[in-house]
Each structure stands twice: as structure tokens, then as C-alpha cells.
Amino acid sequence: MYAQEVKTPSSRLRSRSDMCEQECAFQDKLDAGTKIEPKDWMPDAYRKTLVRQISQHAHSEIVGQLPEGNWITRAPTLERKAILLAKVQDEAGHGLYLYCAAETLGVSRDDMTADLLSGRAKYSSIFNYPTLTWADVGAIGWLVDGAAIMNQVPLQRCSYGPYARAMVRVCKEESFHQRQGFDIMRVLANGTEAQRAMAQDALDRWWWPSLMMFGPPDDASVHSAQSMAWGIKQDSNDELRQKFVDQTVPQSDFLGLKIPDPDLIWNDDEQHYDFGAIDWHEFYDVIAGNGPCNAERLGARCNAWSEGAWYREGLKAHSDKQRLDRKAA
């Protein structure tokens, strides 16, 4: 997802016998569904894991501005341009709420930014794919925001209060994002031959990377069990991926587009779609920094940060002067 491989400090699920009294009381609270708030005691590992997850999520929103931001200047009508601007602006806003939520855990936004720019912190693999045509903007809204919703709706029930509340705001906006993406696809799929081809090509390129957004398969996600016990994660990666496939196949049929998976078939016994094998080499390769746009995306963020240094320092110098003036007065 937006946080695809959140490492917990230990890959083993802690049992009650490993826990001190304080930790047992903490686990009782979680089990009773009580939200954890910034001032409450929490195990260090819980705090660290949350910081990783929330900051990865925030970084994904920030880097996620770039692939679509690419097309704002080329949007085909004034209305599409306005909708896309509003959407990309929302993503930056999501980044902002999420950084604020992470700050309640005692990390600063500047430190998190430094981790992103140095490559220490991760962001979702999906944003390392290029947006080559206008249809990619549609496909991202439909599939990428669609997958994001699937993951973020349960996070509204996350055990950490500030994160859960940030997710409530974010989810409202994400459904608008998905609708606008689907609407772009609908118009293209019913348009000229070139537009239909553009829509199909976008689905062909974004389908598999979208499935990878849910993270590694359950048998390879060593950190999930602890995150689930902590109420940071509600559903397994494979469960969410399956839900996403089941939701999306009928939408693709409605559009008259073909999902690029020869093994995709309705399974009547299981009441879900069976789908083909995901190329996990590609996923790990993109995560490791070798995706088609990793260098461009991180490069763009590094450049924005360094080119903007004078601006940030200028504002700080001004407020320092004002403070001195007030003191002198």
C-alpha cells in the first residue's frame, strides 16, 4: 500500500509472557478497542513502527503529486485541469495531515523529509512508474486511488488516534479521486479509437503495479502479525488485494477494457476472481530503487528542497527579526 513494507523491530509476534506489566496493560487497552493518544504510554516498538508507517504514507502522498502533476499543464479541458489541480492539491494536503500525525509521536517533519531525500525512508512503489499518456491520469485515479481507499478505510479504525482521525479526512477525498479517475477512463473508453487504445494501454501498464501496492504476499510479510496485534493493520495484504480485484474486474468490464491477465477467472466455489501470479521480482526491484522513475521522482523532490532553501531561510530570518523587534519594543 502507501506503506508497503513496514518493518517492525522484531519479526516475531510478542506473546504475553514476553511483556512487562505496562505492556500487558497497553495490549489490554488495544484489545478493548481504546484509542492510543499521543500522551499515553506506548511500547517503543509500537511508536517506531507507527512512525515508519505514517511517514511512509506521508512520503507517498508527497511523491504521489509528481506522476499526475506531470499532466496538469497538458490536461485536455479547463474542467479536467481544474479537477486534476484539486486532486493533486488534496494529495499534498494528505501529506501534511500525515506528517502532523507522525509529529505527535515525537519526530519532526524536517527529519522525516531528510530521511525521504536521503533514500532511507521508503514511499509506495507505484509512484515510480511513468505517466505516459492522459489515460494514465485516469488509470491512477481509478486503480491507484481505488487501491488506496481499500487500504485506508480500515485504517480509520487504527489503534493510534491521530492516524485514525487523519484517515477519516483522507478517505473522504480519496473517493472523489477515484470517481474522477474512473470518469476519465469512461470518457476515453467511449471515445475515438485512439482514445480507447490509450485507455487500454494505461490499464495494461497500471494493473500489475496496482496489485503490488498491497505489499508482499502474506506468507512473505514477516511483520504483519505484530502490526495486526497492535491494531495498526486490520486486514492482510492478500485479503485486501483479493477485495480489490473483485471490485475492479466488473468496473473494467463496464468500461469494455480487458485486464491484462490471461489467468483471471471467476471462481464460483470461492465466490471471487482467481488471478495470475504477480512478478515479485519487479516489486522488490522497484522498492530497491530500480524502477523506471525512482531517480526522477527522488531527484525532483531533492531539487525542490534544495532550490527552495533560500525561501525557507528567508521566511525564518524574517520571523527571527520580528521576534527581536518585539523583544526590543
Binding site: 493533486v88 492539491q89 492522459w134 525561501y311
Partner: protein, 254 residues
Amino acid sequence: MVLADPALVGVLGLRMGDNALILGQRLSEWCGHAPVLEEDIATANIALDLIGQASNWLKLAGEVEGGGRSADDLAFLRDAREFTNVLLVEQPDPDFAHTLMRQYLFDSWHAEMLDRLVDSTEARIAEVAAKSAKEAAYHRRRSADLIVRLGDGSEESHARMQAALDALYPFAGELDQPDDCDKALAAAAIAPDLGELAGEVASARTIVFGRAGLSVPTDVPVRSGGKSGLHSEALGYLLAEMQILQRSHPGAKW
């Protein structure tokens, strides 16, 4: 050539619309690349306002023209020589200081202009202006505040803001220079007298630049031509990018 009132309304709609469209387009280039997250959000927000305003003005211009051209037709299917925005708004951004300075020079005029257009004798002009006036007043408040803080900030931010002012100030004069259409619009009380407006704008700017510690260039020649379609080379590239899909898929719906 003296245009009749209805055609004049179209000229004004087109000029206001083109200014908003081209500036909105320039601003939206920053999306995801601004100096801080808050600026990414604010810049997109202002671009969004301007694109919305452009749609309203261009729609009006199309209606007045009566040839069935929509706002999109006017935005995406005209060539550079037919655009009537002032040169200021099409100027590229070598750094964010230029972006902010261009914005303030425009906002300080735009907000004042819209305030007057709200009282236009032409109801359709007054109506579109009323929709935009509040947004423009907010844009001006915001850009004026940043001009002051960065002008009176660090040594580097001061130097960059001064360089941007020196580079862009010659283009601001075009907003104040009435041509025959502007004069006829003022005579019909459809639009304000630009010379008079210029005086008010200049005194507001003097206060802001004074607080920012920036010196306003004196005796600089005015760079103009945009209103009559004589643009800088930069506009051609901007339009090539903006119009690509409409131009390469004629007649397609999006």
C-alpha cells in the same frame, strides 16, 4: 477602429480570461516542486482559482462573439498571436522569487480591477467579476505578505526578490497602459479608466515594497504588446504544452 459595446465586452472578457488562464498555467507548473509543502498547496489553490476564473471569462467572450466557440475552444484552439494576455503573466520562472513577484505585480492590479468591474454598467461583466473579486483579494493579501517577508528576510531572499522585481517590473506597466479598446470601455463605463486605476495600484505597491525594503526601478521602459497579440517567445512553448491533446485529437471529447 472603434468597436461597438457588445464587441468591447468580448475583448474585455478575452483579456481578463487570457490573463487568468496563462498565469494559472504558469503556476500549475510548480505542482510538486515548490519550496515547502504549504507552497505546493497554496500555489495549486491559486492556480485552481485562476483556471476557474478563466473559464468564466472565456465563456462570456465566446457568447459575445456568437460564433459558438466554447471556453475550451478559446483556450485550446487559438494560436499565440490570438492570445491577449499581458506579457507579465507569461514570463517563465527562473526561480520561485520570480513566481511570487509576478504574482504580486499581477494580484495588486487584478484585485483592484475586479473591484471596479463589479460596478460595471455591463451586467455580464459585473457578474463574472463578482465571482472572482474575493479570490483575487485573497491572492493579493497572500502575495503581498510573502513579498514583505522575503524582501525583509535573509540577505539571499532579499537579493532574489530584488532581482525578480528588477526583471519583472518593466512588464507591469502594460496593465496600466490603455489602448483604444480600454479607452472605449472606460468611456462606456464598462471598465475603469486604467490610468486612474494605475495610480491606486502604484500607491499600494509603494507601501508593500517599502516594508519589504525593495527598491522599485525607476525610468524603465514598459514592455508591452500582449494585448494586441505580440507576445514573448515563451508563450508559444506554454501553448504547445497546454494545447497538445486538443490539437492532436481534433474533435475528440475528454
